[in-house]
C-alpha cells in the first residue's frame, strides 16, 4: 500500500499524531502490532495529567507536558472522554526538604504552571484528611488532573479513523528501507510505501529508529507496577498525591482514578525484557509500603487488581521528538512520563511538521468532534429512560459491578475501530473492570462479541491471537 505517512504504533502518541495529521490532506496508515489501539504503555500507567512542575525547564518534556496539559480539558470535551482536574500534591516528610519543594515550585513557574503554592502539613490535611500525619509541607498544583488513558487513546484513534486514517492491527514492522520512491516498510503482513514515517513505537522505538538512522538510540523498558483498589475506597484521597523524590524511593503516587477507584503505583525497575508486563511479589509489596507512607492507611483488603506497564525510558532523559537525521523519518521516542499528558501536544507538533514536509493543506471537511459510548451507569434517570426507549439493550446489564449494558457493549463493537477482543470491550466500556473482575460478565460479553462479529466463540481472545479464552473439546 502506498501512503503519504506511515505511523508506527497506535498508543496514545501514535493515535494523537494520527488524529492531528488527519486534519490535513494526507493519506495515513497506522501500523500496530497488537490487536487494538492502546495495548502497550498507554494502557498501563497512572492516568495522570501532570501539571508540569516536575520537568526541567527548557526540556521537551517540560514544553510538551505543559502544552498537553493545557489542551486536555478542551480535548476531553471535543472527543468525549473522561478527564477531571483534581489537583496534585507533592508531600514532604522533612522540614529540611524545603529547598526541594521550592525547586519544584520554581521549575513549575518557569514552565508556566499556574497556581502553584507551598502549603503546611495542616493545610494539606484539611484538604486531604487521609494524608499521613508525618507530612510537614507540600506543594499544591491545582492544574494537575486525571484522565481515562484508554478512552483518551481510543477517542483520538477513532476520530483519526473517521477522518480517513487507516489502522492496521496485528501488523508488526520488520524492516524499513529508504528507497528512491520513499520508505519501504515491510511487516508480517502487507508492505507499505510511504513518503514519511513517524516512529511512535513505545518501548520498541529504538528498534524502529535504528532500522533507518545511523545515529542509534536506546530505549530501556522501565517497569511500573500498580495496585488498583475498589471504588468504595476511591475517596481516600481526592487529589493526586506524590512524594518528594528521594525521601521514600521515587515516584509512587496515590490517586483517585477518573472512574472513582484508588490507584497506588508505580514502582520503577529497568528490565531487559520488553514484554515483561508481569507483576512481582517484591514490586507489589514495596508499593504497599512506599505508597503507604503518603496516607494514613492503605486499604489492603480492597485491592481489585494489580498490573504492570513498561515506560519507554530514553538514554538522554528527554523526549526524542522531531525529524531525525534521515529526512522524512520522524521520531516520537522515549515518551515516558509525562507522556500521556504530553501526547495531545506531541501529536499537534509532529502533525504540523509532517504536513509541512508534505506541503499538505488542511482539509475543509475535518470532523473535530467525536461522541463516545453512552454511559448508562452515570446517566440521570431521565437520560437512562431516553436511552432505553431508543434501544432496550441499554437496560440489559451485562457487567453488574460497573453497570455496563448490552447496548454499550454493542456500541463498542460497532463503532469505528470497534472492539474485537474482551480487553477491547473492557477498555471502551469498563465491562469487567469492577470488583468482580469479569467473573460474571465475561461469558456474556464473549457471547455478544461472537454474535456481533459473527465468529465462533472459541476464536475470541482476551487481547489478540494466542490469548483465546476457550479451547476446543478434545475427543476422548
Amino acid at each position: 500500500m502506498k501512503v503519504n505517512t506511515v505511523i508506527i504504533g497506535a498508543g496514545v502518541v501514535g493515535s494523537s499524531i494520527a488524529r492531528e495529521l488527519s486534519r490535513f490532506d494526507v493519506s495515513i496508515a497506522v501500523l500496530e502490532r497488537a490487536s487494538d489501539v492502546c495495548e502497550g504503555t498507554s494502557k498501563a500507567n497512572s492516568g495522570i495529567v501532570h501539571a508540569g512542575f516536575d520537568a526541567v525547564p527548557g526540556t521537551k518534556k517540560a514544553y510538551f507536558n505543559v502544552r498537553g496539559s493545557k489542551k486536555m480539558e478542551a480535548l476531553s470535551k471535543e472527543l468525549d472522554f473522561a478527564y477531571r482536574r483534581n489537583g496534585s500534591i507533592v508531600l514532604s516528610f522533612n522540614k529540611e526538604d524545603r529547598p526541594k519543594l521550592e525547586e519544584l515550585l520554581k521549575r513549575g513557574e518557569a514552565n508556566g504552571v499556574e497556581g502553584l503554592k507551598i502549603l503546611s502539613g495542616d493545610e494539606i490535611r484539611k484538604m486531604e484528611p487521609n494524608i499521613s500525619d508525618e507530612v510537614v509541607e507540600a506543594l499544591y498544583a491545582p492544574t494537575g488532573g486525571i484522565v481515562c488513558p484508554f478512552n483518551l487513546t481510543i477517542a483520538m484513534a477513532e476520530n483519526a479513523s473517521v477522518n480517513g486514517a487507516k489502522f492496521f492491527f496485528n501488523t508488526e514492522v520488520t524492516g524499513i528501507e529508504k528507497t528512491s520512491e520513499g520508505f519501504k516498510i515491510t511487516t508480517n503482513g502487507e508492505e507499505f510505501l510511504a513518503d514519511t514515517v513517524i516512529n511512535a513505537a513505545g518501548v520498541y522505538a529504538d528498534r524502529i529508529h535504528n532500522m533507518v538512522c545511523s545515529d542509534k538510540i536506546k530505549i530501556t523498558a522501565r517497569k511500573g507496577e500498580y495496585c488498583l483498589y475498589d471504588k468504595k475506597v476511591g475517596g481516600t484521597v481526592s487529589s493526586t498525591i506524590f512524594q518528594l523524590p528521594g525521601a521514600y524511593g521515587k515516584g509512587v503516587l496515590v490517586t483517585p482514578t477518573v472512574h472513582g477507584n484508588l490507584l497506588i503505583g508505580p514502582t520503577a525497575t529497568d528490565t531487559e525484557d520488553k514484554e515483561a508486563v508481569n507483576t512481582t511479589a517484591v514490586g507489589l509489596d514495596s508499593l504497599q509500603a512506599t505508597g503507604g507512607k503518603s496516607i494514613k492507611a492503605v486499604p489492603f483488603r480492597s485491592v481489585i487488581t494489580s498490573f504492570a506497564g513498561l515506560r519507554a525510558h530514553p538514554e538522554g532523559d528527554d523526549f526524542i521528538i522531531g525529524e531525525s537525521t534521515v529526512p522524512g523519518f520522524f521520531d516520537a521516542a522515549g515518551i515516558e512520563s509525562p507522556g500521556l499528558s504530553a501526547a495531545p501536544a506531541i501529536g499537534e507538533f509532529l502533525a504540523g511538521e509532517v504536513a509541512k514536509k508534505l506541503s499538505a493543506k488542511e482539509k475543509s471537511d475535518f470532523k473535530a468532534a467525536r461522541k463516545g459510548i453512552p454511559n448508562v451507569a452515570l446517566a440521570s434517570p431521565e437520560e437512562k429512560q431516553r436511552l432505553v426507549k431508543e434501544n432496550p439493550m441499554y437496560a440489559n446489564v451485562i457487567c453488574r459491578c460497573e453497570l455496563v449494558t448490552e447496548g454499550e457493549i454493542v456500541d463498542a463493537i460497532k463503532r469505528p475501530l470497534g472492539a474485537t477482543t474482551l480487553d477491547g470491550v473492557k477498555r471502551r466500556t469498563r465491562a469487567g473492570m469492577g470488583r468482580c473482575q469479569a467473573g460474571f460478565c465475561s461469558p456474556k460479553t464473549l457471547e455478544i462479541l461472537a454474535r456481533e462479529l459473527n465468529v465462533p466463540i472459541e476464536s475470541l481472545t482476551k487481547h489478540g491471537p494466542g490469548s483465546e479464552f476457550l479451547s476446543p473439546h478434545k475427543s476422548v
Partner: protein, 422 residues
C-alpha cells in the same frame, strides 16, 4: 408500581423467602431477578448432592431450583426477570431497570435482600505474574462447561479448595482435562469433607495444603504457574517453588456476599461476614429490611439457605401484617467466644422470639473433638460434643425461648468452642 414484599434476587434464597411470605398469607410478593430465569447459581450446578435435608433425596442444582420455582408458580408469586435493581432507598423505594419497562420504581412495605454472593477474583489475591487468558474463577469455568458447553482449558491447576473449586476439579476431569493439583493457602480445606473425598481423592487429584501460587507465566495464555509452600504467616517459603505447566488456572478462594445495594441504602454490615447484621427475625438495622442466604453469610449447603430464607420470608410477612414491629426493647447480644468467627443473628429481642431459634455460625480453625458451648450470662446451658469443626462447614445451635426469657437483664449470650483435643 407497588408491592407488599419485594425480594431482591430469585435464587434459592429469594425463592424460599417468596414462597414462605406467600404461604404466610401476604398477597403481593414480588421477586426481582436480573437473569433471564429464576434459580440463580443453582442452574449451573449440575452435580448432585442438593436437597438431602430439605427433600431427603439427592437432587442436582437445577432440579432443586425447579422444585422451588414450581412451588412459587403454584402460589402465584410474581417475578420480574431480566430486571436489575440499581438502587434501594431507606424508605424502601426500589429503582430498577429492564428492557421492557425502562427505568421504573417499586414501592415496597418490606424488602428481603437475597442477592447471593460472588467469587473473590485473582486481582483481590494480588497474585504476581502476567495477566493472560486462561485464569478463571471456578464459577465462571463452571458456567462455560455446564451452560455454554465450552472448555476453558485442558491442563488445569486450581488455587483454593472452596467447594466450587473442588466440584470443578471433578467436572474438568470428567470432561477430559488433566487437573494437576489443587493448592490451598490454609493448612485445611475451605470446602466440605465430602467434596474432598468425592471430587479429589476419587480422581487422584492432589490437594496441596499450605501452598499458594507465587507466579503466573504466559503473556497471552497461561503457560505455567509456580506453586510454593507458605509458612505460618502465609508467606511463601523460598526454595519450595514448583512449576506446573498448564493452560488454565481456576480460582476458588472464597465467596463474598454481594452487598453493594445494601451498603448504598445504608444497611449496617458485618466486616467479618460481609453481610448485614441481623436480629432474631433476620431483620437488618433498617426496619422492614430482611436478609437471607449468601448475601447474609456464605452457606455451605443450599438446604440451609432455603431454611434460613423461609424464616426471613415469614418474618417479612409478619412485618407487613403489622404483627412484628421493633419497639424500644433492648436487644440481647450474641457474643462470639473462643473459635467462633461470627453468628447470625447477632442479637435477639425476647418479645419476638419463637419457641426455638437457630443461630448459625462458622469456626475460625479446625477443631478436633470439640464441644460447642452456649452460655447465657455465666451459665453454660448447652455443651455438644462434635468429632470435628472446620471453617468449611457451617455450624448451628438451637436456643429455646424459655431459656432466653429466664435471662437477667444485662446478660449476653455467648457461643464458644471448648475442650478440643490438641
Amino acid at each position: 408500581m407497588k408491592t407488599k414484599i419485594a425480594i431482591i434476587g430469585g435464587g434459592p434464597a429469594g425463592l424460599a423467602a417468596a414462597i414462605a411470605a406467600k404461604e404466610a398469607g401476604v398477597e403481593e410478593v414480588l421477586i426481582i431477578e436480573r437473569d433471564r430465569v429464576l434459580g440463580g447459581i443453582l442452574n449451573q450446578c449440575i452435580h448432585n448432592g442438593f436437597g438431602l435435608h430439605t427433600f431427603k433425596e439427592e437432587l442436582t442444582g437445577p432440579e432443586y431450583a425447579a422444585r422451588f420455582i414450581e412451588k412459587a408458580k403454584e402460589l402465584n408469586v410474581e417475578a420480574l426477570l431480566n430486571t436489575i435493581v440499581i438502587d434501594i432507598s431507606r424508605d424502601k423505594v426500589i429503582t430498577a431497570m429492564s428492557a421492557e419497562k425502562g427505568v421504573f420504581t417499586i414501592e415496597a412495605e418490606a424488602i428481603v435482600l437475597a442477592m447471593g454472593c460472588r467469587e473473590r477474583p485473582r486481582g483481590a489475591l494480588n497474585t504476581p505474574g502476567y495477566r493472560p487468558a486462561g485464569i478463571y474463577s471456578a464459577g465462571t469455568a463452571q458456567r462455560y462447561v455446564n451452560i455454554e458447553g465450552k472448555m476453558p482449558g485442558h491442563d488445569v491447576v486450581i488455587l483454593g479448595s472452596g467447594d466450587i473449586g473442588l466440584i470443578m476439579a471433578r467436572r474438568m476431569t470428567l470432561e477430559g482435562a488433566k487437573v494437576h493439583a489443587v493448592a490451598e493457602l490454609m493448612p485445611y480445606s475451605g470446602g466440605l469433607k465430602r467434596n474432598i473425598v468425592q471430587c479429589l481423592d476419587d480422581f487422584d487429584i492432589p490437594l496441596k495444603l499450605s501452598t499458594t501460587v507465587v507466579d503466573i507465566a504466559g503473556k497471552d495464555r497461561v503457560e505455567s504457574v509456580t506453586l510454593a509452600k507458605v509458612d505460618a504467616k502465609n508467606k511463601p517459603i523460598p526454595g519450595t517453588e514448583e512449576i506446573i505447566k498448564c493452560d488454565t488456572l481456576l480460582l476458588s478462594c472464597g465467596l463474598l456476599p454481594e452487598n453493594e445495594l445494601s451498603s448504598q441504602m445504608g444497611v449496617d454490615l458485618s466486616p467479618i461476614t460481609g453481610g448485614p447484621r441481623v436480629d432474631e427475625s433476620l431483620e437488618t438495622d433498617i426496619d422492614g429490611v430482611f436478609a437471607c442466604g449468601n448475601v447474609l453469610h456464605v452457606h455451605d449447603l443450599v438446604d440451609y439457605v432455603s431454611k434460613e430464607a423461609t424464616e426471613a420470608g415469614e418474618h417479612a410477612a409478619e412485618f407487613v401484617k403489622g404483627a412484628s414491629k421493633r419497639d424500644s426493647e433492648a436487644a440481647i447480644g450474641i457474643e462470639t467466644g473462643n473459635g467462633v468467627r461470627y453468628t447470625v443473628p447477632v442479637c435477639i429481642r425476647k418479645s419476638r422470639l419463637r419457641d426455638l431459634l437457630t443461630v448459625r455460625f462458622r469456626v475460625g480453625n479446625v477443631y478436633k473433638d470439640p464441644e460447642i458451648c452456649v452460655y447465657l450470662g455465666d451459665k453454660c446451658i448447652q455443651r455438644r460434643k462434635k468429632q470435628i469443626c472446620a471453617p468449611g462447614e457451617m455450624e448451628q445451635v438451637i436456643l429455646k425461648k424459655t431459656d432466653i426469657e429466664a435471662m437477667n437483664s444485662g446478660e449476653t449470650i455467648r457461643i464458644a468452642i471448648e475442650n478440643e483435643s490438641k
